[in-house]
């Protein structure tokens, strides 16, 4: 895409956010909105800057990212493993799938009290909650990916006498990769969502704690900073997976809009 086209697209996308911020700023300065509930964008920016300089922000962000990552790796990893197994082996599907599908319908918020009862307010209950959220998208999509492999390519693998291992690494995994990466994206965003739930529920560190703490002291600006951070990091991880997708799936020949 030429540079000119790209800047044009960027500017077009920025019109609405900038308009909203400008109206907001003016409305607060004209005392149409309460400054306590809607701190003006400039003051939020100042809070953001102060927290960044004091190191408060990076400390809490680091804790949150760590929780989300561990939860994602544990839950997503298990989801990928069981998804592939169920996809590959009928027996594994019959064993695992009914239970997973049943568990999948349970709302996560409904099991949080149970997790707190069992594992307390510590790190374990938070990470388990995140892991549980991250498990299902990867499970479902890995399973789907394996089942979508073109059986004609299996004939080729038979004629060329691929070993079991090569059938997996050279046929099944590459063919299932689009679905697996979609699963990774959905899992990451679910992990991030569960992190917020886990941290708002009770924590003494992390971005969620920051928001909760600021709320009790009526520091609305800090609440906004926390929300913005959640949004930014969420978008960032999503972009990272999309870059990975573009690299790994450049062979795909599909409609790009």
């Amino acid at each position: 895409m030429p540079a000119k086209e790209r800047t044009k697209r960027l500017l077009l996308g920025l019109i609405i956010p900038i308009l909203v911020l400008a109206v907001w700023q003016v409305a607060v300065m004209a005392h149409l909105l309460s400054e306590n509930l809607f701190p003006p964008p400039t003051s939020i920016l100042q809070d953001f800057y102060e927290m960044l300089v004091s190191g408060e922000l990076t400390h809490h962000l680091g804790i949150s990212v760590m929780r989300a990552m561990i939860g994602f790796i544990v839950g997503g990893g298990l989801g990928l493993f069981f998804g592939l197994m169920s996809g590959l082996y009928k027996r594994a599907e019959e064993l695992v799938d009914p239970t997973v599908q049943m568990m999948r319908t349970v709302p996560l918020l409904a099991v949080t009290p149970l997790f707190i009862l069992w594992f307390g307010f510590g790190e374990l209950s938070k990470i388990l909650l995140i892991a549980m959220g991250a498990f299902f998208p990867l499970y479902v999509n890995a399973f789907l990916g394996v089942r979508n492999v073109d059986s004609k390519l299996f004939d080729v693998a038979r004629v060329l006498e691929f070993s079991r291992l090569h059938q997996l690494t050279k046929v099944v995994l590459p063919a299932a990769m689009p679905n697996i990466l979609l699963g990774v994206r959905l899992s990451l965003s679910t992990a991030w969502l569960c992190l917020v739930v886990a941290e708002l529920m009770g924590a003494d560190q992390g971005i969620g704690f920051l928001i909760q703490d600021a709320r009790s002291y009526m520091r609305t600006g800090v609440v906004f900073v926390g929300i913005i951070i959640f949004a930014l990091v969420g978008k960032l991880t999503d972009s990272l997976v999309r870059i990975l997708e573009a690299r790994l799936l450049q062979w795909r020949d599909s409609y790009r809009g």
Binding site: K152, L153, D155, V156, R158, V159, L160, E161, F162, S163, H166, K170, V171, P174, A175, M177, L249, Q250, W251, R252, D253
Partner: protein, 256 residues
């Protein structure tokens, strides 16, 4: 042309339902000499593709004997290269990786063999291209290279150029001849194109449908490369057509 590469004798295949028995293939007897090019031609439903799948080891439900170099065919193997109607390349792999398939290009022996094959099918410059970036004819050439890399005893081709346009098809037939001349692999080609069969083969097997059986085997004693518009070619065309249209299977005698 000396020894026999492939020997099919008394091959029968039938589908059974509760009330009917359909003979798909009836008493097929056919042998293929080493370095020979044989085409099988016949109306759709004559079981020619089924016959090829049996030889490939992809279909094990038959009676009779299929011997490749004197040993029973028990399942698919690299010994019997198979070219499908569609190219069936791995869309996520580049041309060179498709040809190497389960072998590693980091192995210098594989690397040089792959380069050799790419030269044979004339795809230099496209080593790093993905299947979506190359034409149907080129894709089919990659599939042929993938099969030939494994030094098959026989290359089985199941209407490999059926999906290509007329110009590309002619061109592919010429490249296949060239590949055959250089590589000297025995070829067994299933086709519905009479000209293709005459242009390429030493012998043409004409099959009949319901039940699928061999009606005639016609030798093509023309020098390569053959002139598609020549009188001898025209004569053979008439001969194949009349064999195809003949109602009585036993009128045109044949021996194997």
């Amino acid at each position: 042309m000396a020894t026999t590469a492939l020997e099919i004798s008394h091959l029968n295949k039938s589908f059974r339902t509760a009330t009917t028995v359909t003979h798909v293939l009836e008493d097929i007897r056919l042998s293929l000499k080493q370095q020979e090019f044989v085409s099988i031609i016949g109306p759709s439903g004559c079981g020619k593709s089924t016959l090829l799948k049996i030889v490939a080891g992809l279909d094990a439900d038959y009676e009779g004997v299929v011997l490749l170099n004197g040993t029973d065919v028990t399942g698919p193997s690299k010994e019997k290269g198979f070219i499908f109607q569609e190219h069936r390349l791995f869309p996520w792999a580049t041309v060179e990786k498709n040809i190497a398939a389960d072998l590693s290009l980091k192995d210098p022996k594989v690397r040089s063999r792959v380069d050799e094959m790419i030269e044979l099918v004339r795809l230099q410059g496209f080593e790093k291209a993905y299947p979506k970036q190359i034409s149907g004819g080129m894709s089919q050439r990659v599939a042929i290279a993938r099969a030939l890399l494994r030094n098959p005893q026989v290359l089985l081709l199941d209407e490999p150029f059926g999906a290509l346009d007329a110009f590309t098809r002619n061109h592919m037939q010429e490249s296949l001849l060239e590949i055959w001349r250089q590589n000297q692999t025995s070829m067994l080609l299933v086709t519905h194109d009479i000209d293709e069969a005459i242009f390429l083969s030493n012998r043409i097997v004409v099959m009949d449908a319901k039940p699928g059986r061999i009606k005639a085997i016609i030798s093509v004693d023309l020098n390569y490369p053959r002139n598609r518009v020549g009188g001898a070619f025209q004569q053979l065309r008439t001969q194949v057509l009349s064999a195809l249209n003949h109602k009585e299977a036993d009128v045109v005698g044949y021996d194997i």
